[in-house]
Subunit: 387 residues, 4 copies
C-alpha cells in the first residue's frame, strides 16, 4: 500500500499516540495493513469483523499474533456477533473506524454509557453514513463523525471500480458462466451499481437497472441501460446483483419472478440485501451445489445464491484489489487521525477536501502521472467574479 | 419540451405573474420555449444572449415578433455586448436567469443601483456558479441565488450527454475527420469533459486528459484514459477540446506544442478557453478554410480553430438536443419560480432536491419508464440507525 | 490522400497508360482524388454516379473542368440514370470501377456487345459482389472481376468505422436528437451494421438488431445487443437504420409497426432499403419538415425519413472521412491496376493479400505506427507442421 | 450443453457407429460432454490431453471410469506426453479431433504407417489449422481434414468471448489486481487478442497491441488502442498477455524490457508463447509466490508468470464457459460426423456453412431469440444480378 506508506509521517505525528481505536471492517488480508499502520502511529487497536460471513479466521489469527486484540469468528450467529462487538466496546475504544455503523449503533443501543465516551467515528459505507445521519437527526450524535464513504478518494474508486470489478470477477470465477449476452439485473444504480453495470456491460452483458430514485433511473437510461421495476426486470434476468445499501432488495415477494437457473449475488449492505432465510423457507430443497453456490429448488425452478448472500467479492473471492484499499484505508487513516486531533465539531462531517486531494496526489505520484497547475490568469479568474 | 409542458400548472400558479425577468442564455432556437413558458406563466421577459458568437439573429427576430424585448446581435464586440446587457438591466429586471453570470456581474460592476434591486438569480453554468460563490465570499450577495447548474437534472445530463454528443458531432460534421484511432486531448475532466471523453472514446478515439485536480485526474486514469500535462498531451493530439470552465485553457504559451493539422474546439466557458487573439498574433497567415473553420499558419504547422473558439456545438451546429434542454430549462423555470416565491434565503442555494426529483419523475413518465418504490421495510431501514 | 499518393509510382508503371476506365461511384468531393490519380497514371477516365441522390452537381462540374467525361446529374429519374450509365458504356470503357454493379449489370442487360468487351471490373460494395457472384453462377462472367469490397483494407475500415461514424453523425446533425437512451433498431449486422451498432452504443444508444443470418444474430447477442424480429424491434425503436445490402429492408408491410416520431435512415444499398414510395402511398400527408427530413403522416403517427432514403451519410452530410476513402480508393486503384496488368483469371477474384498488406503498411507509415516482424523462430514455426 | 444435446439425433444416425475416434483436447471437465456424446453416437473414443499443464487428473479418472481409454497425466514431460499420444495412435484411431495438431503431427513424424490409415482430422485451433496447411503444402495431407477453428460458430465465440472473458477473469482471480487504469500489453490481435482487448478495456484497462500483421495493427488502432513494437510496449505494461498462435512471443531477448512487477500470462498456443525456461535461466531467483503465480527475480525487477505459461484460463481457472464449449464441441462433433460420412475430399476443408448455420440456429432457439426470414423480394434480389 504505497499511498498509506507515504502518509506514515503525517499519521505518526503524535495525534494517535496512546489513543484506543476500534477497527470494525471486513477482516480479510488487506485489513491488516490498516491495523498495523495505526499501531505504528502509536494507537492501540482492537478489531472485529463487520459481518460474520466475511470474516476470515486466518486473518484473525494473524492479527492476534501481531498483538492486536481481535473479537471475531467466521460464520457466527447474530447474537455472537453482537457479543463480540460489545467486547470491543468494553475494551475502552474512544475512536472507531466502523462499517455499516455496526459497532457504533450497538453501543448506542446496548451500552449508552460507553457510547457517551466516544470521541469520533469514521464510517466506511453508504449505509453507515445514512445511519449516522439518522442518529444526528434524533439528536444522538454528540461527537464528531466523518462520512469517510463520501470522500471522493473512497466512493469514486472503491465503490465504482473496486466493487464493480471484483463482484463481477467473483461471480464469473465461482460459476464460470459467460457474461456475453447474459441478462444482468442490477438492483440499485448508486456508485456500486454503476460500477457493476459498467463492468458487466464491458464483457457483453445486457443490463437492466432497478431503481427507486428518479434521477438515478434517468441516468441509467441515458447510459444506455434498460430500466424496469423489479418484478419485470427479474423475468428476463440471468444474474441478479443487489447494490442498494438497504435491506431486502430481493424480498420474499420477489422470488416468484425469478427465472429458472438465475444466479443471485450481493454487492451491497452486508448479507442483508437478499432475504436468504425467506428463500430457504420457500424452497422445496436446498443443495450445496459447489463451494459458495447454494441452490434452492422452487418447484421446477432452480435459484443459485452465491456466497450465502454475503458480499460476493469478499466472501467468495479476495475482496477489493489492494490498490483500491490503499486509497480507502488512506481515507480511513487520515479520517481517524483528524478525529483524534480534535478539530472537528460534533455531528456528521465531510472528509476534508484537502486530505482527499493529498491522497489523490500521492496516488498519482506512485503512478508517475503528472498534473498541470492552474496559470496565474486562471487562479485570478477562479477566485473573482469580475474578470 | 414535454417536461416543461407538464410543469405548466405549477409555473402558472401566480408566483411569476407580473414579475420582470431577464433571461440571458444562448439565443438559439430552443431558448424560445423557455422564454415563452415564462411569459405564459405571467412574467414579463427581457432577453439577451450570453455570448455574441452563439447568438442567432433569426431567433432574436422571432422572439421580438412574439413581443419579447431582446437586446442581442450576433458577432458584436465586447463593448456592444456589455451595452446590450446593461440595457437589459435598465429594463427593470428583478429576477435573472443567467449564464456565466454575464448579466449579474456586469450589474454589480456597472450598475450597483440596479444590482441592489435584484430579488434572485438562477445560474446555468459551472463558471457562473463559481462567480456567485466569489460574490458571496466578498459579502456582495444580498439576494438569493440558485446554483441551477448543480441541479442533478442539469449537470448530469446537459453537461455529460448533451454537450458530450453535440460537441463531438459538431466537430465531425464541420470537418468530416475520422474519430477512430484519432488522438483527442480533452482539457478538463469535469462533467463536460467526461461526457466528451465517453463520446469520443465510443467512436474509437484515443483519449488523453489534462487536469489540475488530482481526484479528477485519477478518475480519468481509472476510466482507462491517458493523463498527461498539457504540453506533453498536445504533442500527440489530433483534436484538442477545452472544457475547463476557466479561461485560456490553451494560452499563448501552449501553441508551440501543437501538432501540424490539429483541430481546436471549445466546449467550456463561452469563447474564452482558447486564446484565439494570441494565436492570431503568432500566426504567419490566417485562412478562412471553410464555414466555421479558421486555419492559422504557424511556420510549417497549420492549426484549425472551429467556430472561432466559441462553443462549437452552439456556434457550429444546433446546440444541445431538445430533450436535454427540456430538462435544463425545466430546472431554470422551477428555479426562477422558487426565487419568485420568495422562499429562499440570501446567498447561494442548492436547487431543491424535491424539484430535481419532480423533473426526473416527469421525464421518466414521458419515456414510459417505471420506478419501484421502497418497501415499508426499506423505508423503516432508511430512516433508522437501529434496524 | 497520403496513402494513394504514396502508391503513385506503382500506379504509374505503365499498366494503366492509355486504358479507358469507367468510374461509377458516389460523385462527392473525395471521388475526384481517385479519378485524378487514375488520370495521372495515364488512363482515360469516364465517370458517372452510382445513385442519382448521392450525386453532387458541383463535383460533376469540377471533374468536367479537369477534362473528365462525366455523365451524371443529381436527382434524375431511374430512366435518365440508366441512360447516363449507357453513355458511359458507349464511351468504350474496358475496365470498370463499379458500385452496386450499377454499370456492369446494365451493360450485361442492355448492351451485351459492349459487355463482351470488358476486361475487368472492380466492385466496391457487398451488394455488387453478390451480383458478381450471381453473374458468375450463371456463366456470364467471362472476364476477371475483383471483389474490392472484400479487401480487408476496404470493408474492415470503410464499412465499420467510416459508415458507422458518418451515418450516425449525419442522423444527429440533421435532426439534433439525443443518442443517449434512444432506441436504435439496426436492420442487418454485417460490417456496416456492426459499425453502426458500435457507434450508436458508444453514445448511449440502446441497440436492437434484426437479422436473417443466425451466426450474425448470435454475434449481436454476444455483443450485448438485443436481437428481435423486425416487427417487434420496430415497436420500441426511436431510430431505424437499414444496413442489409438488400432491398426493401423496410417494406410496405413493416410501416404498421413504426412508432410515432420514429426516424428512418439508410446506410445500406443505395436508396432501395426503405420502400419510400410505398410509405408515401400509405401516408395521409407528406411534409418537407426541414432540409433532408421528410415527414410522412400515417394517422396519428409521424414518420421522418432522412435524405429521401438515400445513403444518409453521403446524401445528408459529407460521406466517409477522407482517411477512410484514402484506404478504399487505394484498394480500387490497385485493384484496377491489377486488372489492367492482365494477371487475373476470369471470374470473381479476391483482392490480392499482398496488396492489402501494402496498403495497410503504407497507412501505418503515415500514422507513424511501427510493426514488429516475426522472429526467425516464429517464421520457421509458421511454415512447418513438425516444430 | 443444450445445443450438443439437440444434435444427438443427427450424430446418432449411424455414421459414427463403430468408428474409432481419438479426441485430443484439453482434458478439463467440459470435455467429458463431447467424449460421451461421441460414445453415445456409437463411436469408440480414445482420449488424451493436448498439453500436460492443462490436463486435470480428476477428469482423466472420471473418463476412465466411464470406460474411455485415456492416456494423459498432468504435468508430465514432453517425452512422456509424446509417448501418451503415440499410445493413442496405436489404439487404431482413424478419425481425430485434434488441438494444435498435437496427435496428427506426431503420427506423421513418428508413425507414418498409422498416419497413412487416417480417414479424417478435425482441428480446434488457429495454430493447428496452420499446421494442416503446412502438411498440405508439402503434399502430405492424403485424407480430408476440417478447419474446425475457422467455423464461425467456433472462432467468433470461443476465441473472442470465451477466451477473452476467462483469460481476464483468471488473471484477476489469481492476482486480485485492479484492471482499471492498468496497462495491458496484448501480443497478437487475432480473434483471441481482440476478445482480450475488449474485455480488459471494458474494465478500464489501457490497451497496447503488438502485431506483425499490418491490417490487424491498423484495426487495433481504429479500435482506439495503442499500437507499438514489443520492446516499446513492454516498457509501459503492467500485464502482458500473449495470443499469437505462434511460439516465443515473449522470447529471451524481450525480458530486458519488462517492468518491475509485471504479470505475464498466456492465452495463445499451449505453453509455448512465453519462453519460461529462458526466463528461469535469466533469473537470480525463482519463487512460488502463490498458487499459479511464479515470481522470477531479475536484478531489481520481479516478473510474475501465471500458470507456468500454460493457457491461464484453463490451467489457472475453469477454462471456457460451458455455453461456449457447447458451440465449439457442437462444431467438433458435426465436423467429425461429416468426416465419418466420407463426403469430404482430401485436403483442408472448411466447416460446411449449413452446419454452422444449424448450430447457430439451435443456439438461438435455446436462447429464445427469433430470426427474421428474407422476404420473397429479397430472396429474388439476393440471387439475381439484374434486379
Amino acid at each position: 500500500m504505497p499511498v498509506l506508506a507515504r502518509l506514515r509521517d503525517r499519521l505518526g505525528d503524535g495525534a494517535l499516540r496512546g489513543r484506543r481505536l476500534a477497527v470494525v471492517v471486513h477482516l480479510e488480508a488487506k485489513t491488516a495493513c490498516l491495523v498495523l499502520a495505526l499501531q505504528e502511529a502509536g494507537a492501540t487497536v482492537v478489531a472485529a469483523g463487520s459481518n460474520p460471513l466475511s470474516t476470515q479466521d486466518a486473518v484473525v489469527a494473524a492479527l492476534a499474533e501481531r498483538g492486536v486484540e481481535v473479537h471475531a469468528r467466521h460464520g457466527v450467529s447474530q447474537e455472537e456477533f453482537t457479543a463480540d462487538l460489545l467486547r470491543v466496546a468494553e475494551s475502552g475504544a474512544e475512536l472507531v473506524i466502523d462499517d455499516g455503523l455496526e459497532l457504533t449503533r450497538r453501543m448506542a443501543e446496548h451500552r449508552p454509557d460507553l457510547y457517551a465516551q466516544l470521541r469520533g467515528v469514521s464510517e466506511e459505507t453508504t449505509t453507515g453514513v445514512a445511519r449516522l445521519r439518522a442518529l444526528e437527526a434524533e439528536g444522538l450524535l454528540g461527537f464528531p463523525a466523518v462520512a469517510a464513504n463520501d470522500a471522493r478518494c473512497k466512493h469514486l474508486f472503491d465503490n465504482v471500480y473496486g466493487t464493480g470489478q471484483t463482484t463481477l470477477t467473483a461471480i464469473l470465477a465461482l460459476t464460470n458462466v459467460l457474461a456475453a449476452g447474459r441478462g444482468f439485473c442490477i438492483v440499485g444504480y448508486g456508485w456500486v451499481g454503476r460500477g457493476l453495470a459498467k463492468a458487466a456491460h464491458g464483457l457483453g452483458g445486457r443490463i437492466t437497472i432497478v431503481e427507486i430514485d428518479p434521477v438515478r433511473a434517468l441516468t441509467a437510461h441515458m447510459d444506455g441501460h434498460n430500466v424496469a421495476p423489479l418484478a419485470r426486470a427479474l423475468e428476463d434476468a440471468d444474474v441478479v446483483i443487489t447494490a442498494t445499501g438497504l435491506v431486502e432488495a430481493l424480498d420474499a415477494s420477489s422470488f416468484a419472478h425469478l427465472q429458472d437457473g438465475v444466479l443471485l449475488a450481493n454487492a451491497g449492505h452486508h448479507d442483508r440485501e437478499i432475504d436468504v432465510p425467506a428463500l430457504a423457507a420457500q424452497a422445496d430443497e436446498t443443495i450445496e451445489a459447489r463451494a459458495n453456490v447454494t441452490t434452492y429448488v422452487l418447484g421446477d425452478r432452480r435459484v443459485h445464491v452465491l456466497a450465502g448472500g454475503a458480499l460476493v467479492n469478499i466472501a467468495g473471492l479476495d475482496g477489493n484489489p489492494i490498490e483500491i484499499m490503499d486509497l480507502s484505508f488512506s481515507v480511513q487513516a487520515l479520517s481517524i487521525h483528524t478525529l483524534a486531533s480534535g478539530e472537528l465539531p460534533a455531528g456528521v462531517n465531510e472528509f476534508p477536501a484537502e486530505l482527499d486531494d493529498l491522497i489523490a496526489r500521492t496516488k498519482l505520484e506512485t503512478l508517475g502521472i503528472e498534473l498541470d497547475e492552474p496559470t496565474e490568469v486562471q487562479e485570478r479568474f477562479r477566485s473573482a467574479w469580475m474578470v
